[in-house]
């Protein structure tokens, strides 16, 4: 084992910005109103109905530009993110290339208005059109739209589209159920419910996926659609998926492929060829655009020709040599979000896909699966760590779910402690599992194709070191982190109405109330 890094996060003890500044300081000035304008128009205040004039200025901080800039740059430094090693399972951490950031920041993207005449938007429309063709080739779908602001939003788009599809056939009132698995992302169930469907959740068998019989028992004339990922978050591929789709189709339901875990099957199969009616790709994860800590993101939604008339508008279409926006689609579900999507993310994803090419995409998938299996070999050699579904002997795809149940039982150190301790060595917080935790004390690394073997080895070395610590000195793990921007959080106030504070003004009020109590 190489020596572990002697890492420490920057500690700035930065005040909350609401506490900073002095009255009268300015961070941004605007031109004075032209005298010719004010001469004609008069005082601004006279233009506002008296009862809506702002009498008390907002209690914002008063700061200079460098104070604001430095404050936020310090805060950025206190964010580990991908500056460390982030093998964050289910999120497919990839390189977000510098050139793509620069391209998407150009005024020919940043300073476009979506209501401009399409004649003035030919470049961006061509990129969208060309990228749609790439995604269609990868998935076998006939159309893609980019309106959904994330993966969950694409699942929601599908729920809305399924409503329209079944309503168009006069069947919506009876088709009120959506089938998913307990191992599917929580948003798949949640978006179906938010669209008004009842959710039927299939449990897993020992082989890691629900049985075909369980599916058959759940499917009926009430089934609106099936929404499922494959492989799931344990790296297990359901080999019966084609039969599943047949069962759902025979009952008149639709099948949606949540391609959140695309890296494991990228360039190996096509959703449409398996029989799926629709699918979703996360451009902010799988296609090399940054995640931004939670967006702006894009859930690219693709579907077959049979569903195309229900897609949200507008669609990018090519007419002779010109690209245009088609808003005239009478059966469309309308919008799930204003405008046509997070276009800079689409530009970045297109650039990423072009940089990779077919061979690069295939290699990325290969390397991801290779690296995951390499990790498995080493991780299972660490005392206290086991693998989910230990009886499955086939190689997992791009990620594997493990358990620290043994470690926890033997040392009292759990995954949350280990997660905190790993950050002490510059490892970004590891991904555990979505709710519910089917595997006790779960964690789910995903190596992806960006990180080097050295990085992966370091990540494993850190984990091995911490597991040793758990047996020799559990306190150091349980009280972690020690080398981070701040110490372990006190979580008690977070769910207490008398103490939680989502804004500074709430915090001030509650602090004053608390002081009076004393």
């Amino acid at each position: 084992m190489r020596g572990l890094r002697d890492y420490h996060a920057p500690v700035w003890s930065e005040p909350v910005i609401m506490e900073m500044g002095r009255p009268g300081r300015r961070g941004l000035l605007f031109p004075a109103v032209d005298p010719a304008v004010s001469g004609v128009i008069g005082e601004a205040e006279s233009l506002i109905p008296p009862q809506l004039r702002r009498n008390v200025p907002p209690a914002l901080p008063e700061l200079t530009e460098p104070e604001v800039l430095h404050h936020y740059l310090r805060l950025s430094q206190q964010t580990l993110g991908m500056m460390g090693i982030s093998l964050f399972g289910t999120c497919t951490m990839k390189y977000n290339s510098a050139i793509n950031e620069m391209l998407a920041a150009r005024p020919e993207v940043a300073a476009l208005h979506p209501c401009q005449d399409p004649e003035t938007l030919q470049g961006v429309l061509e990129i969208i059109h060309a990228f749609e063709a790439i995604l269609c080739e990868l998935s076998g779908m006939d159309h893609f739209v980019f309106q959904a602001g994330g993966g969950a939003d694409a699942a929601y788009l599908h729920a809305c589209l399924a409503r329209a599809y079944h309503a168009d056939r006069g069947e919506l009132e009876r088709r009120d159920e959506v089938i998913t698995s307990i191992q599917a992302h929580p948003c798949n169930a949640a978006t179906a419910a938010a669209a008004g469907f009842k959710v039927v959740t299939l449990m897993l068998e020992d082989n890691g996926y629900p049985s075909l019989d369980a599916l058959k028992a759940a499917v009926s004339e009430r089934t609106a659609y099936l929404i499922i990922n494959n492989p799931d978050d344990m790296g297990i591929y359901n080999p019966e998926i084609k039969q599943w789709i047949d069962v759902v189709h025979d009952a008149g339901g639709l099948c949606f492929y949540d391609h959140a875990n695309f890296n494991g099957v990228m360039t190996k199969l096509r959703a449409r060829e398996l029989g799926f009616d629709a699918c979703m790709f996360m451009l902010h994860k799988t296609f090399g655009a940054p995640k931004g800590g939670g967006g702006p993101a894009v859930g690219a939604y693709g579907c077959s020709e049979a569903l195309a008339s229900f897609l949200p508008t507008p669609l990018v279409v090519k007419k002779e040599d010109m690209f245009d926006l088609d808003y005239d689609r009478p059966k469309s579900i309308g919008r799930i979000r204003e405008f046509w999507g997070n276009i800079p993310v689409v530009v970045k994803a297109y650039a990423w896909a072009r940089s990779m090419g077919a061979a690069g995409l295939s290699q990325a998938s290969d390397i991801s699966v290779l690296a995951n299996n390499y990790m498995e070999k080493r991780l299972l050699a660490i005392r206290g760590i086991t693998r989910s579904n230990p009886l499955i002997d086939k190689h997992r795809l791009e990620m594997t779910r493990y358990s620290m149940e043994t470690l926890s039982r033997e040392t009292g150190v759990g995954v949350l402690d280990v997660q905190n301790r790993m950050t002490d060595f510059g490892i970004d917080a590891i991904w555990l599992s979505h709710e519910p935790w089917l595997v006790p004390e779960p964690f789910t690394p995903e190596a992806g194709e960006m990180y080097s073997k050295e990085d992966i080895d370091y990540w494993i070395d850190v984990l091995a070191h911490i597991c040793d610590e758990a047996y020799s000195d559990p306190h150091i793990v349980k009280s972690a982190p020690h080398n981070q921007a701040i110490h372990k959080l006190n979580n008690d106030p977070l769910d207490d109405p008398d103490r939680w504070a989502m804004t500074w003004r709430a915090y001030k009020r509650k602090m004053i109330a608390k002081a009076k109590m004393k």
Partner: protein, 464 residues
């Protein structure tokens, strides 16, 4: 060939890892995928542009076919506005530490969490509310969630929505309210606006509000730019029937306009793009939800909520997720609607923008926009055949009608484009009752000369 984005794309590393695994080849690792699930034919993708120089040239070449609002003189707004984006905001959001971050932990991503808290805190000051959620996808999505939240609070299933609303936003709201076939459908009933001045029609509100009304939703300024002085009356009427009052506001206006907390709104929603985010062809939008800090409301929020707290070290502060369990991540289909990735990076741009602006910045920009907008309207209103439809109280946007000139908006805009001007948004399809009308947007980026140039161009077009 080794690819610059993939460290393990060299043959010897692949071999090393294969040997460690004990596999003969990589194909063996995909053994779970049955053969008859594989691609039916090889992929046909455009050739790879793996060298950055080729890639840059290709993309930049495509983008050069666009004509942006940087070169044209733009008056389009309608939910995506051309405001000045300070360079400091751009530098801050391009920092890789948070740009490429995913979840992290409250300790290891402390700085990012603090920036999010500062977004909520500063926005809370502008709107006059103590509870602000982390962002959602857009203003329309925020309004949709807020309406559903109101319906969960009072169990009612009808929402009254102002008719003078962005049709895009209304389409989003309609999806969020579910189609009539669904058991939890919320009926959307539109409220007329007064034809003379664009205000919400109080008589129509009084005739439509009932004990079934979950919420009344309206906007200040409205989609058509109107500052409706009856805001407090509308809210009082909503409250008299036990309905929630949801107000949509553009926060850029709140240096000069009262925050909705001041006139007793229950829930406030709005856009984020106006606070330091480029238009991005519509990809700059985001939305927020705010309310009183009342547990009844907090426990129905669909968004992540982030609270300030302390750490095990005395005197040290941190920021952690509140009420996580009620989200879709905690409760799946039993959670409050759903949440996921949305527009969190823009929350940081907003935080920096609000801090740069301060109270005086918001007042200055508000006054500048008010005066310039009214100046533009006065110039256009003087042109024979051109009419300002609602000439009294408006902010940033106003409706210009060309019926008197016998011109279609599409025609006017086409002619304007020849002069390098992007005219206002055509309302003639969406609001046929307004005839050939167009929504013009004027902000701090415009100069007096810009506005005079617009007026001269339109004068020429309608005279022709």
């Amino acid at each position: 060939m080794a690819h610059p984005y993939m460290a393990n794309s060299t043959p010897d590393i692949r071999q090393e890892m294969l040997e460690a695994i004990g596999a003969k080849n990589i194909g063996q690792l995909f053994e779970q995928i049955p053969v008859n699930h594989r691609l039916s034919r090889p992929l046909q993708l455009p050739p790879a542009l793996s060298s950055e120089v080729e890639l840059e040239r290709h993309i930049a070449g495509l983008l050069s076919k666009n004509e942006s609002c940087d070169t044209a003189l733009n008056f389009l707004g309608a939910g995506c506005w051309q405001h000045y984006v300070p360079a400091a905001c751009l530098e801050i959001v391009s920092r890789r530490e948070w740009l490429t971050s995913v979840c992290g932990s409250p300790m290891s991503d402390h700085g990012r969490n603090q920036a999010w808290f500062e977004f909520c805190s500063q926005l809370g000051e502008l709107v006059g509310m103590e509870l602000v959620g982390l962002p959602v996808y857009s203003w329309g999505c925020a309004a949709g969630h807020a309406i559903r939240l109101a319906s969960r609070l009072n169990g009612r299933r009808e929402v009254l929505v102002v008719k003078a609303i962005d049709p895009e936003r209304l389409a989003v709201i309609r999806n969020y309210c579910e189609t009539p076939e669904m058991a939890n459908h919320i009926k959307v009933t539109l409220l007329d606006y007064v034809f003379a001045d664009g205000r919400l029609d109080l008589d129509d509100l009084l005739s439509k509000i009932s004990d079934n009304t979950a919420a009344v939703y309206f906007e200040i300024p409205s989609y058509l730019g109107i500052i409706d002085g009856d805001a407090a009356k509308i809210i009082a009427i909503a409250h008299s029937k036990g309905a929630e009052a949801i107000v949509g506001v553009d926060p850029i206006s709140l240096g000069v306009l009262a925050g909705p907390g001041q006139y007793d709104a229950d829930i406030v929603v709005g856009p984020m793009q106006s606070l330091g985010v480029p238009m991005n062809c519509g990809g700059g939008v985001g939305g927020f939800i705010a309310s009183r800090d009342d547990a009844r409301y907090a426990r129905e929020y669909p968004t992540f909520l982030l609270s300030i707290t302390d750490t095990i070290k005395p005197g040290e502060r941190g920021f952690g997720l509140s009420l996580f369990h009620q989200t879709s991540y905690g409760l799946r289909e039993k959670g409050k609607d759903w949440t996921g990735n949305s527009t969190y990076m823009w929350a940081i741009a907003n935080a920096a923008y609000m801090a740069l602006m301060g109270p005086q910045g918001f007042r200055d920009i508000g006054e500048l926009i008010l005066q310039q907008t009214h100046f533009a309207a006065s110039l256009l209103g003087k042109i024979p055949g051109v009419r300002i439809v609602f000439p009294l109280h408006f902010f940033k946007e106003f409706v210009v009608n060309f019926d008197g000139a016998g011109k279609r908006v599409a025609e006017v805009n086409k002619m304007l484009r020849r002069e390098g001007i992007f005219g206002g948004k055509d309302l003639s399809k969406e609001f046929p009752e307004l005839g050939q009308s167009s929504l013009y947007c004027v902000t701090e980026i415009h100069t007096r000369q810009d506005l005079e140039r617009l007026a001269a161009a339109i004068e020429g077009i309608v005279a022709a």
